[in-house]
Each structure stands twice: as structure tokens, then as C-alpha cells.
């Protein structure tokens, strides 16, 4: 498995629990350290984390419930590979939920919240400059999570958290745009709308931001059209 030793967990004071393992794996997945489809063997993770298979299995189940790992009975656990349909569904769900959180965030954000959001963008910019695309991707997702946190609706924030994790897999599989994932201009504009307590504008910006992200996946559907054309070309001689 592609987990390198440099990614081995620190043996700190905190005990290794199913949650620490699940979080570590989730973090690694989010940063694209582990590719979709990768097998996660129980014994291997057990060795890596220094716990029994019992804890590992519980961690894998947690990740499976978040749909970022797929457990196939008798065959093992694998990083999920969302289908194109799932990809569309995930972004569609985000387009439904996140504009609302942006609106609420515009109503509820404190100056500290604004600072924190801006800090996120700065860190993301630093990561990109350093060529650390994985970290930039992670921070980009965290930005969205922070907006959801500011909105003070935990139930919806929890849903968004799962959707963002799944988005990371989707991006690994289907993203083909050259530019950075989330253009910082979009995030900046969003922060301004939130700071200005302009709920309408924040909602519109978040919606169009996500539609934009979604459209970057739509690009992947073009090869299907080319495929049909190819079938057409093969038919006359078939």
C-alpha cells in the first residue's frame, strides 16, 4: 500500500483510537496522499498504527459510513471511487446546502470569524506557492467547513463535512481544470459578502461558486460524446 513511512502516525500521549485513525486516514485522503481505489489492509494498518485489528476495523467502518471508504465483504476496504453519477449528486447536494450556510454565516459571523476565513486563504496561497497542492486542497475544503461552522447549524454542517470529504475523492478522479481548485477570488468575494452581512449576495456567490466547481466536472462528460462519435466512425465499416 502506498502509505509511506513518512506518513506514520506520531506515537504521542494521545491514545490511538478508532477516531484518531479515521481522522488521520481522512486527512491523508483529503490531501490526495492516497488515491481512490487504494486497498486499506487491516493487518497493514494495524502494524502502522500499533493497535489490534479491532480498532482498525472500527476506524474503517467510520470511514465507510462517511462513504470515503468502501468495505467489500470478504475482500477488504478500499478508498472509495465515486461514480460520475455520485459526483454530480454530491455537488448538487452541496449547491442545495451551502448557499444556505453562506447566508446564515453572513448573519452570524464575528470579526474573528472573518479573520479566520482570511487566514485560510492566506495559508492556501502559501501552500500553492510551495507546490503543496494536497495541503491547498485540504485548506480549500476547510474554508467551506468554516463557513458552515459559522452558520451555527450543526446538523447541516455535519452533512457538508461528509460532502466535502467525498468531493476530495471526486476531484482526484474527475478534476481536469488547470487552475487551482477554488479560485481565491471566489473565496475572497464570499468573505466580503459575509463581512458585509449581505446574506443575499453571500448565498448567490456560494451558489455560483459551487456551480462553477460542478461545471469543472461536467468537462469530464465530453469524452462520452467523443466516444459516441467514435462509435459512429466504426459503424460504417462494422
Amino acid at each position: 500500500m502506498a502509505l509511506s513511512a513518512s506518513k506514520k502516525p506520531q506515537k504521542a500521549d494521545a491514545p490511538i483510537t478508532k477516531d484518531t485513525i479515521a481522522n488521520a486516514l481522512s486527512h491523508a485522503i483529503h490531501q490526495h496522499w492516497i488515491a481512490p481505489g487504494t486497498k486499506l489492509g487491516e493487518d497493514e494498518l494495524s502494524d502502522i498504527y500499533g493497535v489490534s485489528r479491532t480498532i482498525v476495523r472500527a476506524a474503517l467502518q467510520t470511514l465507510a459510513h462517511q462513504q470515503i471508504v468502501e468495505i467489500r465483504r470478504n475482500r477488504g476496504a478500499f478508498i472509495a471511487k465515486p461514480s460520475l453519477t455520485e459526483a454530480h449528486e454530491v455537488f448538487e447536494a452541496r449547491e442545495l446546502l451551502e448557499p444556505r450556510t453562506a447566508r446564515s454565516a453572513a448573519r452570524l459571523a464575528t470579526p474573528q470569524d472573518i479573520d479566520l476565513l482570511e487566514g485560510h486563504i492566506a495559508q492556501e496561497h502559501d501552500a500553492l506557492k510551495a507546490g503543496n497542492h494536497g495541503r491547498a486542497l485540504f485548506l480549500s475544503g476547510q474554508f467551506h467547513l468554516e463557513v458552515a461552522r459559522i452558520a451555527q447549524q450543526q446538523t447541516i454542517a455535519d452533512m457538508i463535512k461528509v460532502l466535502i470529504a467525498r468531493s476530495s475523492l471526486i476531484i482526484a478522479l474527475y478534476w481536469r481544470r488547470e487552475s487551482a481548485l477554488c479560485e481565491s477570488q471566489a473565496h475572497h468575494a464570499l468573505i466580503k459578502a459575509i463581512a458585509d452581512q449581505d446574506g443575499d449576495h453571500a448565498e448567490d456567490l456560494m451558489k455560483s461558486h459551487l456551480v462553477d466547481l460542478h461545471s469543472a466536472l461536467n468537462l469530464r462528460e465530453q469524452p462520452a460524446v467523443q466516444h459516441d462519435l467514435r462509435d459512429l466512425l466504426l459503424k460504417p465499416s462494422g
Copy 2:
């Protein structure tokens, strides 16, 4: 624990897995056979289902991820007791998601789908007539799940499934209206809008239906006011 012997699982050909146990418990919770706050002991469930604690723990973890069971470390698993805040959040999330599924269902429903939805109402009516409120409650929730299934957006349907399960707990704790949970008139009107392929109307009806349900919880906030008043009355003599 309040699980009665009459609710003991059938020892059928299907093996008892974590999923069958989780589903059985979820079903029992949904029908209010088990009250919020009830302790679910591992050994007890292990006895009841005839499997080891390993399987039981996996089932409980599944239910914990659905937030209908709360696992407290070193203390055990309990049927969740959503706070009033959580109650509001859950219905707010439903108000955001389900109108969209209703709109999509109006676009996608087949005549068979309409028949099935109508069948749900009939069964619910039968259950109420027979005084089987638990079953009526379950079917009422299933109606909403069916609308979500018809909408063909699995990601959102999965979210709605969890929200409906949690709604069942919320209703057990906070519901005080004398009438049946979902008035069949609301469901009938919704079916008609869906059958008529009237997405706008279906969306509006679902929204107002959920707002209505949500408002039945709001009623529970009134005692808080009375509680404050009582404190005021006690203060002068305190």
C-alpha cells in the same frame, strides 16, 4: 432493558449481521418500541440476537453514525435524545432538502410510483384505525423516503433517511399535537401534485408540510416561558 421477547428476531435463513441488527433496532426505534434514553447493553443484545459482542458493537456503531444511538465511552450505548436545538436543526435541514426531492419526484414519478405512494397512505390509515401508532409513524416516515427515492438522487435520499430516523426520536420527545403525525390530507395533496407533474406545487406543498411539522415542535418551547414565569413567582419569596 425494555426490549420484550415478542420483539425477538426470527432465526431465519438470513445470517444475523451487523446490518440486520442495526436495521431491526432502527425499525424498533422508528416505531417507538424503544424510548429515547434507553440503554442498549452489548451483552443483552448479544443474547437477544445470538451473536457475539463484536457484531453487536458494529451494529451499535452503525446506529451511532446515524445519530439515533449515542455511544458514551466506558458507559455504553443509549438511544439518542436529541436536544431541542437538534430538533430544530433536523427539521430545518428537511425543509431545505425535501422540497427539492418533491420537485424532482414530480418530474420523475411513474404511475407505479403514484400507486405505491397511495398504498402507503392506505396502510397508514389502516394502522391508525387499528390503534397501531408506531406502525403509522413508521409508514409516515417511509412515505417521505419513497418521495426521495422517486427523485433519483441517492446522496440526498441517504441524508433524508438519516433525518427521518432522527425525526422519529424528536417526535417521541417533543410531539404534543393530538392529531396524527402527518395529516393524510397533506400527503394526498402532495401525491396529486406529483402525479400532475407540478414541480412548483409539489415543492410548495412539501415545504409547508414540513414547516407545519416543525411548528408542532415549536409548541414545546412554550413551557420554557412558563418555567421562567415560575422562577419569577418563586423569587419574591426566595
